[in-house]
């Protein structure tokens, strides 16, 4: 195990674990705003109680996000000091913006959202929900700009000593990669939050408890989930794929498991990449579909992986391929599930269709898997580059930290996060067990 590998493993582990929490809170912020809007301006009592209930889950996830997010702020320097030093003049801007514009907003108004309902007027309380959501979305934008620059660097200049200087803040902040990646990420986060909402609604419906609230959660979750799931694919996923084809064609070929350049290339639905034979084992391929989806022509030529020099290939092609296929596969299944559920909702049958309720309830982990796989796709696809075309990953790690010290930190994080997981599940189950209605009487009155 060389030091760079351990630094990568530690970063991958801590960021993957961290993103389980903001992924929910960004989208859940929107769900709470929607429910608070109905509660504040339409006098919907059930929506008010649902918002209060989801705010509890939000707060729990927020704490986990804070605890696991602080390490990220220091990992650039700890494990990646050569990258941090060379690129700091550029990415330091957005990391500091995140602190100044996003974290202060979120942390100040979260308290008022959770505990301020009696201290503030209903409108001011609604405004704190909007402030918390704005803070978390702003945080996402600044981090995405940072990542977009690593995927597709713009607005900078490389000096003779190898350090990279910012030359245009506006070009950096408005990187064409950033709005697309932001929209795709936010759509993914909303998908997670709406699926979790629908899943809770399905759980209470099946349990026969909190009926009015369950119906509300199901309705918001299914309608929002359908919109989010579709927008994951069209337009955000499609636009993202076009950027990858244009700027990272090698990553695109690896994601699709497309080894050889072909006119009229087929789309591999499943199959296992075989790196010895440079083919897919046990493939199911839709003929010409890849050419058509990419260029809207059935005979368009798609460059295969073997047409590029081997040292430019992402270093883990099979994992990249699986990550991409998992993301697309789960995304597609969720569009189907949400479409069928929305139809049942429209026909007022959803609350009685047991198989569908079961499917919705059990869908809970899948958007998390799809979002994680999506980020794996983005980050593995960027390899072997840390900053695409500018700095290779192996040239960015810290040289002063020995492998023993990295492993010490990695094992410590694993232990800490195992403890966090246990606490999280224990408290999540407690909050869900108590449920959204404050008193049984209030629940009766609301129905």
């Amino acid at each position: 195990m060389d030091a760079t590998f351990l630094h990568r493993l530690q970063f991958a582990f801590t960021i993957t674990y961290h993103y389980l929490f903001p992924q929910l809170t960004m989208g859940l912020g929107l769900v709470i705003v929607i429910l608070k809007y109905r509660a504040t301006f339409k006098g919907d009592v059930v929506a008010a109680e649902c918002a209060r209930f989801l705010a509890k889950l939000f707060a729990l996830n927020f704490v986990m996000g804070v605890v696991t997010g602080i390490p990220m702020e220091f990992q650039f320097g700890a494990g990646w000091s050569r990258f941090a030093e060379a690129a700091g003049g550029v990415i330091g801007q957005t990391l500091a913006m995140e602190g100044v514009f996003a974290f202060f907003l979120e942390s100040s108004f979260l308290y008022l959202l959770i505990f301020g309902e009696k201290k503030l007027s209903p409108r001011a309380h609604f405004a704190s929900a909007v402030a918390v959501m704005t803070g978390s979305w702003a945080s996402a934008y600044f981090i995405i700009v940072t990542n977009a620059w690593m995927q597709h660097p713009v607005g900078h200049e490389v000096l003779a000593d190898g350090s990279i200087e910012l030359t245009s803040l506006s070009a950096y902040l408005l990187n064409p990669w950033a709005p697309v990646q932001f929209a795709h990420t936010i759509a993914g986060s909303c998908l997670t939050a709406f699926v979790v909402t629908a899943s809770l609604g399905a759980f209470y419906t099946l349990m026969g408890s909190h009926q009015a609230h369950a119906a509300k959660l199901l309705k918001v979750g299914v309608i929002g989930g359908l919109v989010a799931a579709i927008s994951m694919a069209m337009p955000t996923g499609d636009l993202q794929a076009r950027l990858v084809i244009k700027h990272q064609p090698i990553a695109f070929a690896a994601m699709e498991g497309h080894f050889h350049t072909e006119d009229s290339a087929g789309l591999a639905l499943i199959g296992q990449p075989n790196m010895e034979t440079m083919t897919l084992d046990n493939p199911i391929v839709v003929p010409s579909a890849l050419s058509f989806m990419t260029y809207q022509r059935f005979d368009a030529r798609i460059e295969g992986l073997t047409s590029f020099p081997r040292e430019e290939w992402p270093d883990n092609v099979p994992l990249l391929y699986y990550a991409y296929h998992l993301m697309v596969g789960i995304g597609t299944l969720l569009i189907g599930l949400m479409a069928v559920s929305a139809l049942a909702l429209w026909r007022k049958r959803l609350g009685r269709t047991k198989p569908l309720l079961w499917a919705l309830m059990l869908a809970l982990p899948f958007p998390y898997i799809a979002n994680t796989a999506g980020w794996l796709t983005a980050e593995l696809g960027r390899q072997p580059w840390l900053i695409y075309g500018l700095m290779r990953t192996r040239d960015g790690s810290s040289t002063v930290v020995s492998t023993g010290n990295i492993l010490f930190a990695l094992l410590g994080y694993m232990g800490l996060y195992a403890l966090l997981s246990m606490l999280f599940f224990f408290l999540f189950v407690r909050i869900v067990g108590k449920g959204p209605s404050v008193t049984p009487v209030a629940a009766e009155a609301a129905t």
Binding site: V67, I70, S81, G92, L95, S398
Partner: protein, 350 residues
């Protein structure tokens, strides 16, 4: 004033804001088994910082990111060089956050105990380590010929050429930091809580102020020993001596006003003391950002700074952004109850 000096000052001011703001909630944690005596009193004490600790801690992230924006080489060299203590500090911050945020989820003596201990232990160790970190920056680290360093946790506790994180000098700074922050916490509790906690916190102010002052004198004497170059270099910038003078005025004011029972103003006194101490430490480091044990290997602010364009464009958003953040703080602090009573514990909407 050069751009790098402007950013050095903004970085130092952000750190000072962090120490003043997170200082009182860390201090509350250090006193968690001294000022409150019963489980209810501990709950009340923790409740006084509950709404604000997270926002306070954001100043640490904001200060780190601000220094990163302005001095990438400082951030890259220091965070990788202090790899082990930074990692351990992060773990402690995690336990402290859990201590504060897990407790109110359920009410059981065992559950309370574990999070009370986590809150106390992590708050104390974090303060000690942050003081030790400051001590390391002031004392200087063992930068090698290639301009890098990797600090072991300790070597032989002497201050020679090959130094570790912990030695007699940095531990002394850590002790000073712990006493100062505990004093700040005692004044906060005396100001924001009513009842037995308030009474005990009031009684703690004078002893803590004396310990702070004594350890401060020892640290100052130690500073001249570990940094023999310092008196000559500070003599060239005599205005810097205003900062420790301001710190002493702040400490004196805190003690005097506390004796008169004006804990609101005493709090401002100890805030002035803490901020002036952080700024004094920063002044002993400038014009470097990392001091080396072998003087010529020190990394200067001008060598560590980012490009001119980034530094100047950064000012246009950083200053309005921080003013905006301060307005949220002002809004939130005004929504807090003036002083908590035992009865407030039963009001679960709060």
């Amino acid at each position: 004033m050069s751009l790098e000096l402007v950013w050095f000052c903004l970085g130092a001011l952000s750190l000072a804001a962090y120490v003043v703001l997170d200082g009182f909630d860390l201090g509350t944690g250090i006193l968690h088994f001294v000022a409150p005596a019963t489980a209810r009193e501990r709950a009340l004490s923790m409740k006084s910082i509950g709404p604000v600790w997270d926002g306070n801690e954001v100043w640490l992230l904001a200060a780190a990111a601000t220094l990163y924006l302005a001095f990438p080489k400082l951030y890259a060299t220091a965070i990788s060089g202090f790899y082990l203590p930074v990692t351990i500090l992060i773990w402690l911050l995690a336990f402290r956050a859990l201590g504060i945020e897990m407790k109110h989820h359920l009410h059981h003596p065992l559950w309370d105990e574990i999070w009370d201990v986590a809150f106390f232990g992590a708050s104390t160790l974090i303060t000690l380590f942050l003081g030790v970190a400051l001590g390391n920056l002031v004392r200087g680290v063992s930068i090698d010929a290639s301009g890098k360093f990797f600090a072991p946790l300790w070597t032989n506790f002497a201050v020679g050429e090959e130094v570790g994180i912990l030695d007699w000098f940095t531990l002394l700074v850590g002790l000073t930091a712990t006493a100062s922050v505990a004093l700040h916490g005692a004044i906060w509790l005396a100001h924001r809580v009513e009842g037995p906690v308030e009474t005990r916190a009031r009684k703690l102010v004078a002893p803590l102020a004396i310990v702070t002052l004594l350890s401060l004198l020892l640290t100052s004497a130690g500073l001249v020993v570990v940094r023999p170059d310092l008196p000559a270099s500070l003599a060239l910038r005599p205005l810097v001596f205003l900062l420790p003078a301001l710190a002493l005025v702040g400490l004196g004011a805190a003690l005097g006003l506390a004796r008169r029972g004006d804990y609101r103003r005493a709090f401002l006194g100890s805030a002035t003391f803490l901020a002036a101490m952080v700024l004094t430490a920063a002044a002993t480091i400038y014009p470097n950002v990392i001091v080396a044990r072998i003087g010529e290997r020190s990394i200067s602010a001008s060598a560590a700074k980012a490009g001119e364009y980034g530094l100047s464009v950064g000012l246009y958003w950083w200053i309005p952004g921080v003013l905006l953040a301060m307005s949220y703080f002002a809004f939130l602090y005004r929504k807090l109850p003036r002083a908590l009573r035992d009865a407030d514990l039963d009001d679960h909407t709060d």
